[in-house]
């Protein structure tokens, strides 16, 4: 047997075993879950050096699993994040109920994602896609009753995506008579151009739901914020990347034939840009830390979509670099917010404040996270942003680059609000009992923090596997060195010099300010401050967190009024009515559902010739 078989077998069998063990010997459960994730990671690393293929037949269809440089890139992301998530979950979930259910679904999600990236035929792709969707849905509704409508929303959108995928797969089969990826890719150019476009758009819709491109993002903020933190880290870090994985395949493997695809790509790039900008604006006005991160995640995926849709070597490299990096920093941020939740029981940014001295390492993780998101040197985010901007300018997307830049500058606002309201600001008596989270939760956060630092100084280390993946996607080559990046005009940025200069100046200034007049100083409380002669009482609230960006809100009020108040509530109302209507459709009665399936199938058969051009 080869590694891929081991990976899938161990993960899926491990999921089942964990569930059973939970009901037999509780203490063993965590150990088994961690072992399963760790051995998944081990075999993924094993599989990097080998090129394998598993073929077996089910009912005339060949099921093929294999790895490509492109899938290796995503598999490593899944394996590392999956392992760290389960490590983090050990202590985070310790007091919760139904842990067998939790771990089983978590491992199913991980297994489903492995399956997606290793599938070399569309049948198993769709199968694993559904496994992932189902088990992630079960995790979204894990917490409580309130999660049910949110889970329903997630499921309805996932269903839209799944149906688009299914229709596209059926169309592909009708047109090429084959479901093996290698054959499809060879024959795809022979299909009529209209069908090519329709298939590509359907596939993009299907994958776009998971990566939450506007207007398919509606499910994301609520689902991200209600699911348990360890899973959210994986949800936003890895699961949303499955959409990106598919979009990359569609754009570069399927869509390279027809001339019309350039229009699809432009539309997609602009959708990405709008997603990035609007999601950032929404993030600024959130009061819940997880919801803020959810919107931030939507926005960041917008950048990735732009990079892929623009399609120059540098922009693809930027997008794939962001895929890896976003996996790391969004997991860090969700874990850090999770740590705050673990100790305070809330993620409300208006009530939690001043935790920096109580949770210093969680603070450092969040600091590294927000520096990476903001794209400020010297951490990894800068390299990604640099490549993205350069590629957009050089591929003549002048106004798109402005939109992207406005979005990433506005991102400073919500990032600062996040770290300020949770960790900085006034220290309130209410949170005086808080202490740092256990070691097992800190380890994943610190590992990821170290990673974003290394990725910033030596982006070339991350770009090596990315360039292999890009070779697979279509022979895209670009110039880079371990710590030097080049743009298409030949200008360069040397990260080694940057880090040396920043490091040296920081060290000199830091030593100066520390040792200049060094003496024992007294720590003053945050109440003991300059207040123009007034002395605040111990219980007086000086926290400035509510409506933190009121001036900014006022400034963009006219724009927001047009978009949020009118269009969005209109859409919201309509959606609500639509969901009301859905209640008649989804009666909750199994027989009704069975009838729907039969009806749908009979409709498909009736109109098969019209829709797919085949006679059944």
């Amino acid at each position: 047997m080869n590694s891929i078989a081991y990976i899938l077998l161990i993960t899926f069998a491990g999921a089942g075993i964990t569930f059973i063990v939970h009901h037999l010997i509780k203490p063993l459960r965590d150990i088994i879950a961690i072992t399963v994730a760790a051995s998944g990671l081990y075999f993924v690393i094993q599989s990097l050096t080998e090129k394998t293929k598993i073929v077996f037949g089910i009912a005339d269809f060949n099921i093929i699993w294999g790895n490509t440089p492109y899938s290796n890139l995503f598999a490593v992301l899944i394996a590392v994040l999956g392992f760290l998530t389960i490590l983090y979950a050990r202590d985070f979930m310790a007091e919760k109920e139904r842990l067998g259910y939790f771990y089983m679904n978590l491992l199913f999600v991980i297994g489903g994602m492995y399956g997606i990236v290793y599938s070399q035929d569309l049948i198993s792709l769709f199968f694993f896609w559904e496994v992932m969707t189902w088990s992630s849905f079960l995790l979204v509704i894990y917490c409580c009753k309130e999660a049910q409508p949110i889970g329903l929303k997630y499921f309805v959108f996932s269903a839209i995506g799944a149906y688009s995928l299914l229709i596209a797969i059926v169309m592909i089969y009708a047109q090429t008579g084959n479901l093996e990826l290698s054959n499809i890719l060879q024959n795809f150019g022979n299909i009529s151009e209209v069908n090519q476009i329709v298939i590509a758009v359907l596939l993009l819709t299907g994958f776009g739901v998971k990566s939450a491109i506007m207007p398919l993002h509606v499910w994301a903020p609520d689902s991200y914020s209600i699911s348990p933190s360890p899973f959210t880290a994986l949800f936003s870090g890895a699961l949303s990347k499955m959409g990106i994985f598919g979009i990359g395949m569609v754009l570069f493997k399927f869509a390279s034939h027809s001339g019309y695809f350039s229009y699809v790509k432009i539309i997609l790039a602009w959708l990405g840009g709008i997603t990035a900008l609007l999601a950032t604006f929404y993030a600024i006005f959130q009061t819940d830390a997880k919801k803020l991160l959810a919107y931030s995640s939507i926005g960041q995926l917008g950048y990735i979509i732009i990079g892929l849709a623009v399609g120059t070597p540098l922009s693809i490299a930027a997008a794939l670099f962001l895929v890896i990096l976003h996996g790391a920093f969004k997991a860090m941020l969700f874990m850090s917010v999770g740590a705050v939740y673990f100790r305070t029981g809330t993620t409300d940014m208006n009530s939690v404040t001043g935790l920096i001295r109580k949770m210093p390492l969680s603070f450092v993780t969040m600091l590294f996270g927000i520096i990476t998101v903001s794209g400020v040197p010297p951490l990894g985010g800068f390299a990604a942003k640099w490549m993205l901007y350069e590629s957009l300018i050089q591929s003549k997307h002048y106004f798109l680059v402005i939109v992207v830049f406005a979005a990433s500058t506005a991102a400073f606002l919500y990032l600062y609000k996040l770290i300020f309201s949770l960790f900085l600001g006034q220290e309130e008596v209410e949170w005086s009992h808080v202490k740092e989270v256990p070691l097992l939760m800190l380890i994943p956060m610190l590992i990821l923090s170290a990673f974003v630092l290394v990725a910033g100084i030596f982006p070339g280390l991350v770009l090596d596997p990315i360039s292999h993946a890009m070779q697979y996607l279509g022979n895209y080559g670009f110039k880079y060195e371990t710590s030097v990046l080049f743009n298409e005009w030949g200008n360069k940025i040397n990260m080694q010099t940057v880090i040396n200069v920043i490091g040296a100046v920081f060290l000199i200034a830091g030593l100066f300010v520390t040792f200049k007049g060094l003496k024992k100083t007294r720590y003053v409380t945050t109440k003991d401050i300059h207040t123009s002669g007034e002395i605040p009482e111990e219980n007086e609230n000086l926290t400035y967190a509510v409506d933190f960006y009121k001036p900014f809100e006022r400034a963009i009020a006219p724009a927001l009024k047009a978009s949020i108040d009118k269009i969005y509530t209109a859409i919201g109302n309509n959606l609500e009515q639509a969901f009301d209507f859905l209640r008649y459709v989804y009666t909750g009665n199994g027989q009704t559902y069975a009838m729907y399936v039969v009806l749908f199938l009979s409709l498909l058969i009736l109109f098969a010739e019209l829709i797919f051009g085949i006679k059944l």
Partner: protein, 302 residues
């Protein structure tokens, strides 16, 4: 290993010169402002005296690690920005590291200091600091957009993102980018008003309103370091604009003349205008400067 002595000289002297020029400009500004307001004003070297006094003070209290590091972040950003800008054209001493970075890098490293400062100010727990930071970041979104538009227009026009290449293009004063791309200059110089933080865009420190905002809990060596950083940063921004639009300078006298003229634009504007509210300030940047920015890009494209 052979040591490149001219580079070492540049690394040592560039920050010193930047500090001296910047701090003198600051002193002159106080003097000029005073004369316009019909006061006598302090001597032009008053700011140097202030900084020396601040450094010689002792601190008995601290507000925690981030507050301690805030001014360090600020000066790191200022000095790094300076090092990646060619101060004197074609000089082996004063080009420093400018061949290893480009305009996009400068855009980002320039906000590094404000963000670090914001973190430091955040830990002190002073509500005025938080209000100041909130205003500062909001205004940053305002003026960065037209500034980037101007830069994009220039980068596209000359097919480079490197400052040294831009300098090489402007080998004669008729080829200065201010003449080649006037709309970009207009957008950038209006954004520059916001960047310098003089009235009407002094919403961040807003004296007599939020008690100087973010720096309000900083004193002694911390305030000294911040003022040092501010002087260096002012000079760095002025040199950056001179390099981009006014063809740089071959010697220090030209540089002083060009930067001083540039510096007087925000200073003199500031004296005659009262303060905007934050939202007015943001909306201002998204009106005319944005218009000029779009125009600059359109001119380049068509």
């Amino acid at each position: 290993m052979e040591i490149n002595w001219s580079a070492v000289l540049g690394i040592v002297f560039t920050p010193v010169i930047a500090f001296l020029v910047g701090v003198t400009y600051g002193g002159l500004t106080r003097r000029i402002t005073a004369r316009i307001q019909n006061r006598f004003g302090p001597p032009f070297y008053q700011n140097i005296l202030d900084i020396i006094k601040l450094y010689s003070k002792e601190s008995n209290i601290n507000h925690g690690v981030m507050q301690h590091l805030g001014p360090v972040f600020a000066i790191t950003a200022s000095v790094t920005t300076l090092f990646f800008i060619p101060v004197i054209k074609d000089s082996p001493v004063f080009t420093n590291f400018s061949f290893n970075g480009d305009l996009i890098f400068l855009l980002y490293i320039m906000v590094f200091g404000s963000l670090g400062m914001a973190l430091g100010a955040g830990q002190t727990g002073n509500p005025n600091s938080a209000i100041g930071v909130s205003r500062g970041l909001s205004q940053l979104v305002g003026y960065e957009v037209p500034f980037v538009m101007a830069l994009v227009a220039i980068m596209v026009q000359f097919q480079t993102t490197s400052l040294n290449d831009l300098l090489a293009v402007q080998d004669h004063f008729t080829k200065w980018i201010i003449f080649q791309s006037p709309f970009a200059f207009l957008a950038a110089i209006l954004a520059f008003l916001g960047m310098m933080g003089y009235a009407p865009f002094d919403v961040v420190i807003a004296p007599a309103e939020i008690a100087s905002g973010p720096p309000s809990e900083f004193g002694g060596k911390y305030l000294g370091l911040m003022l040092t950083s501010r002087s260096i940063f002012t000079f760095a921004k002025l040199v950056l604009f001179t390099d981009i639009f006014l063809g740089g300078a071959h010697d220090f006298i030209t540089l002083i003349i060009k930067t001083f003229i540039l510096y007087m634009i925000p200073v003199l504007t500031g004296i005659v205008f009262p303060r905007f509210r934050t939202e007015q300030s943001i909306r201002f940047f998204w009106s005319w400067p944005l218009f000029f920015g779009i125009l600059a890009i359109l001119v380049v494209v068509f």
